[in-house]
């Protein structure tokens, strides 16, 4: 696991782009939950960090919509809701105030 950021640096509802081993990782905080995704959309590499947050219709979970051509990804799984590619999601663990990802 690789150190990503301090949890306290990302407030509820905020997001942060962090470079880890040369990879742009988009980190989102929804409530107390943190999510880490590769920033490049699998469609045309649009920056997910600039995307629009979309709440699931059932109120459970959130997705991020790419600002380039609108592909939408589940933050927890990277699932693209039927598009031909999923976002890369990194396993994230929190130890105290430290966030670590498997990259």
């Amino acid at each position: 696991m690789t150190f990503l950021a301090k949890a306290s640096e990302i407030r509820v509802g905020e997001r942060k782009l962090i470079k880890v081993h040369g990879v742009d990782v988009a980190v989102f905080r929804v409530g107390d939950q943190f999510y880490a995704l590769n920033n490049a959309c699998p469609h045309r590499q649009g920056p997910l960090i600039r995307g629009t947050m979309v709440e699931s219709e059932n109120g459970k979970g959130c997705s991020i919509r790419c600002p380039m051509h609108g592909w939408k990804f589940d933050l927890a799984t990277g699932d693209s809701h039927g598009r031909p590619g999923n976002a890369t999601v990194y396993a994230l663990t929190q130890c105290g105030d430290e966030l670590h990802i498997d990259i």
Binding site: Q45, P47, R50, T52, H69, W71, R83
Partner: protein
């Protein structure tokens, strides 16, 4: 116009040299490539008038066409997809106006067959990578160009089938314009900006050039006015989205020229272009201000400047040619 060509031309020259220096990253002659990027680059060659020096690029695209007449996202993909097939087909039919190569002509005929065979009953083409409206607009654009400059490539019955398919596709789009003049897709593009910019320039407005069968003047004027109404104060569209700002700027250039409403649109075009120039990287353009250069966006940036060069000429046909709606 306040932006002078003596300001723009050196940027075109410099950025074209940069694109050529990146040749291994977009050329099919160098190996497997992303075909959307390839098509973007071929469009720059067309509008920079260097297509005749690059026959091998067009033939390489023919070489990776599938038996069904389509192409996939990557040149090595085995499945075909509508959007990238249309973009590839457009580059081949337009490139072959200059190259006049029988292999390319044959490839274009295969593209025609692909689109005739894959259209759904309601007039749409489906492509999971794109909103339905975008997936319809691009094949219709190919048919627009085919009807405008490529009728010699196909026989009479095939042209009749193309026209019937074209009408169905056009109806699919026209019936979905919102009251405010925009087109929207709740899944892909809730703001509607990019779809609206795509549809009016890439497919619908061509009707006024190739036959004026569907009376699209009002529809296009409403589309342009929708785009004008959502331009930000800084000149950009869609929250500083470079791609969408380039799309809107190009779209308004073409549609306002054909509709004869340039005076209403000149300032918005200039503001869009000024914003695009302001947010250039040292070489090329990014997807959003402050990001690294993206090669596809660089092709779009060059294309926008080349189209502005045509827009600056006094005759409307100069810019219409850059969409392939006139030879």
């Amino acid at each position: 116009m306040s932006i002078r060509m003596d300001q723009i031309q050196p940027i075109i020259d410099r950025e074209y040299d940069y694109l050529m220096s990146e040749h291994p990253h977009w050329s099919l002659t160098k190996g497997d490539q992303d075909l959307e990027l390839v098509a973007h680059a071929l469009r720059v060659l067309l509008h920079h008038k260097t297509t005749p020096q690059h026959l091998s690029e067009y033939l390489a695209l023919v070489d990776c066409q599938h038996a069904d007449g389509g192409w996939g996202k990557m040149s090595s993909d085995t499945g075909s997809a509508a959007w990238v097939t249309a973009f590839s087909a457009l580059m081949l039919i337009r490139g072959n106006l200059l190259l006049k190569h029988p292999g390319i002509a044959q490839s274009v005929r295969k593209c025609v067959r692909y689109f005739l065979e894959t259209q759904k009953e309601d007039g749409r083409w489906a492509d999971p990578s794109w909103a339905d409206l975008d997936a319809v607009s691009h094949p219709i654009s190919f048919f627009d160009v085919l009807m405008a400059v490529g009728s010699h490539l196909i026989d009479g019955p095939t042209m009749q089938a193309v026209k019937a398919s074209w009408r169905q596709g056009m109806r699919f789009m026209l019936e979905r314009q919102a009251e405010d003049g925009g087109w929207y897709d709740p899944e892909f593009h809730p703001t509607g900006v990019e779809i609206t910019a795509h549809l009016i320039q890439d497919s619908i407005v061509a009707d006024l050039v190739v036959g004026n069968e569907l009376n699209v003047t009002t529809c296009c004027r409403k589309g342009v006015r929708k785009l004008l109404s959502v331009q930000a104060a800084d000149g950009s569209w869609d929250s500083e989205n470079v791609d969408h700002t380039m799309d809107c700027t190009r779209s308004i250039m073409l549609v306002s020229s054909i509709l004869g409403i340039r005076a209403e649109c000149d300032r918005a075009i200039e503001r869009g272009l000024e914003w695009i120039l302001k947010h250039k990287c040292e070489h090329g353009w990014p997807d959003f201000p402050g990001m690294d250069t993206n090669l596809e966006r660089t092709c779009d940036g060059l294309d926008t400047l080349l189209k502005y060069r045509a827009y600056s000429q006094p005759v409307t046909t100069a810019i219409v040619k850059l969409w392939g709606y006139a030879a």
